[in-house]
């Protein structure tokens, strides 16, 4: 602790220089690693995590890349990402089109996980959210073409809940029904059996990560009829409601169209059997097909 001699000054300078050199060199390496870590978060849309997997950001911190989930998967669904693959190295994923999740009731992959990367509180596989199936291409889906393929619907382990067939008339033939596979995200576990089973060369239905597949209404928009149901009454004073005239093309007339604001107070003709196609009673006022 004495006044610094030239020698200790030189030594101190050397120490500071060496430390700065090291900090800069290692800092550069760290910057590269950090940016690579950011990149590795971009999980490709078709790479699905095992059931119970935390959100991707948390998953990459919790998963220790041991592969126990892969080992205990009885169907060889899961694989560990290799360095050249666009999934964080060593983490488990599966590709639905190749081998989907068979939704084992005892969920062995979660049981095998030594960390919280796969949420151990998930005990009912039906509650899993590996992704959400989306009928992504209606132009090639055979059912949308009016054929009866139904394969995605039939292989769905949560049939009639996660995928239902919704009837619609076939405008092309004019006399057939189309049964449109419709996914209900509330029940879809993202197992990927539909995607794997799709008979097309490229699947028309695909399982996407929930963040990609789902819209979000947001807090700024509320659905009126649901709020009405919750409140037990309309949220506004309906007697004060102003009915604006319906906008129609110039000189257009729609027989049976009910539009008080335009002075048309004639109630719509409620004749299902008329078959003239001029009014569809099940639709709200003003939405009938033009003749």
């Amino acid at each position: 602790m004495k006044a610094s001699t030239p020698k200790s000054n030189a030594a101190r300078r050397q120490f500071l220089f060496d430390s700065a050199r090291m900090a800069c060199g290692v800092g550069l390496l760290g910057l590269g690693l950090g940016l690579y870590a950011k990149q590795s978060r971009a999980l490709p849309a078709l790479a699905l995590r095992p059931p119970g997997a935390l959100a991707e950001d948390d998953f990459l911190g919790a998963c220790i890349r041991c592969g126990l989930c892969v080992r205990d998967c009885p169907y060889d669904t899961l694989v560990l990402a290799k360095p050249e693959e666009p999934v964080a190295t060593g983490t488990p994923y599966f590709t639905a089109r190749q081998i989907p999740c068979e939704m084992c009731e005892d969920i062995p992959c979660i049981k095998a996980c030594p960390t919280g990367a796969l949420d151990h509180s998930l005990t009912d596989i039906d509650e899993a959210k590996m992704g959400i199936a989306v009928l992504i291409d209606q132009e090639t889906c055979l059912n949308f073409l009016g054929l009866r393929c139904d394969v995605c619907y039939r292989v769905c382990p949560v049939i009639d809940k996660a995928i239902t067939l919704v009837h619609q008339s076939n405008q092309r033939t004019g006399r057939h029904a189309m049964l449109l596979p419709t996914v209900h995200s509330e029940y879809c576990t993202g197992c990927g059996k539909c995607e794997q089973a799709c008979v097309l060369q490229e699947a028309a239905i695909r399982v996407l990560p929930p963040a990609l597949a789902k819209g979000e209404i947001g807090s700024h928009y509320r659905i009126g009829w649901e709020e009405q149901k919750k409140a037990g009454r309309s949220l506004i004073d309906e007697s004060q409601m102003i009915d604006m005239p319906d906008r129609m093309p110039e000189g257009f007339k729609l027989p049976g169209h009910y539009d008080p604001a335009s002075g048309m107070t004639e109630p719509p003709a409620r004749s299902l059997s008329s078959g003239d196609g001029t009014s569809i009673p099940s639709l709200p006022p003003g939405l009938g097909d033009p003749p």
């Binding site: 290692v26 760290g30 870590a37 919790a62 592969g67 080992r71 960390t115």
Partner: protein
């Protein structure tokens, strides 16, 4: 190349087998551990599942790499019970038996860098880049801080150790390029570069085993004939001098430096049997036999 090969004297004095005893034991252990892991995927005999990051043996023994677990904890995620028990078992083991025992007896990259080191000697490659051996501690610090900042297991993105081990068990993919890069780096760029200067896994284990019981000692150091073979063969030669040449400074014969990997190669190559495995407490300041306790 007029100089004799390293350990030639020892081979002449003790015979080839005795002069390679610890090396052979080490290779058998390294390959044996690897074989245990491979028995499942290759032969369907599931004794050990997983890899060096975490393994589960005979459905009873969990073993977790404490360095990987530490990175995970720093991102804010605690392992489950089995994972934590695994950390405790592994940590306790290396606390007792020497942290860098992992490097020389378990780590699969050791065989790669040892091969590079051996080939470097055979080819007579001399030049070597100069980076401080303390670099690994800086990298270790960077990885731990970086794990906090990025929320990812930072080193696991590039770790050649886990890439090679996982690759051998689960499919190597392009991981062999990383392993080859480490080999070529050690061969042409820097002598003992990866394990001795850069690898933060080894740095972590050296800190873990800082006060471990099991140590290499030089109890017969007065028999040293300065052939320098131990310095030549040692992957961390700086650890030897204080113990081997410490008689005059009153330093005991036990190699206490954290970076001794307990590989035992110095024991093998010494024709005078200077070195032996010992406990850290067995460390008298003087090893000269005639020196009676009364002389101090």
């Amino acid at each position: 190349m007029s100089r004799q090969r390293i350990g030639a004297e020892a081979v002449a004095a003790k015979g080839w087998l005795e002069a390679h005893r610890w090396l052979i034991l080490r290779r058998v252990t390294q390959l044996g551990i690897l074989a245990l892991f491979l028995l499942g995927p290759l032969a369907g005999i599931w004794i050990v599942k997983g890899n060096l990051n975490y393994s589960y043996t005979l459905d009873i023994l969990p073993l977790t790499d404490p360095f990987v677990a530490l990175q995970s904890v720093l991102t804010g995620h605690l392992p489950e019970t089995l994972g934590l028990v695994g950390v405790a078992i592994v940590t306790l083991f290396y606390l007792l038996f020497g942290g860098r025992l992992y490097c020389s007896w378990v780590c699969p990259v050791n065989m790669v860098t040892d091969a590079a080191g051996w080939l470097r000697g055979r080819l007579g490659i001399k030049g070597s880049a100069h980076i401080s051996r303390a670099s690994r501690y800086w990298i270790l610090g960077m990885v731990l801080v970086g794990s906090v900042l990025t929320g990812a297991l930072l080193w696991e993105l590039v770790n050649p150790v886990s890439m090679l081990h996982r690759g051998l068990i689960f499919g190597i993919g392009a991981a062999w390029t990383v392993v080859l890069a480490v080999f070529l780096f050690d061969l042409f760029v820097m002598s003992r570069g990866w394990c001795g200067h850069l690898c933060p896994v080894g740095a972590f284990y050296s800190l873990l085993g800082r006060w471990s019981l099991l140590r290499v000692s030089a109890p017969a150091r007065q028999a040293c004939n300065d052939c320098m073979d131990c310095f030549e063969v040692c992957p961390e030669p700086q650890v030897i001098r204080p113990a081997l040449k410490g008689e005059a400074q009153g330093v005991g014969p036990v190699i206490l430096a954290a970076n001794c990997t307990n590989c035992g190669r110095c024991i093998d190559v010494c024709s005078k049997d200077v070195f032996a495995f010992d406990l850290r407490f067995n460390n008298p300041v003087s090893t000269v036999p005639s020196a009676a306790p009364a002389t101090d």
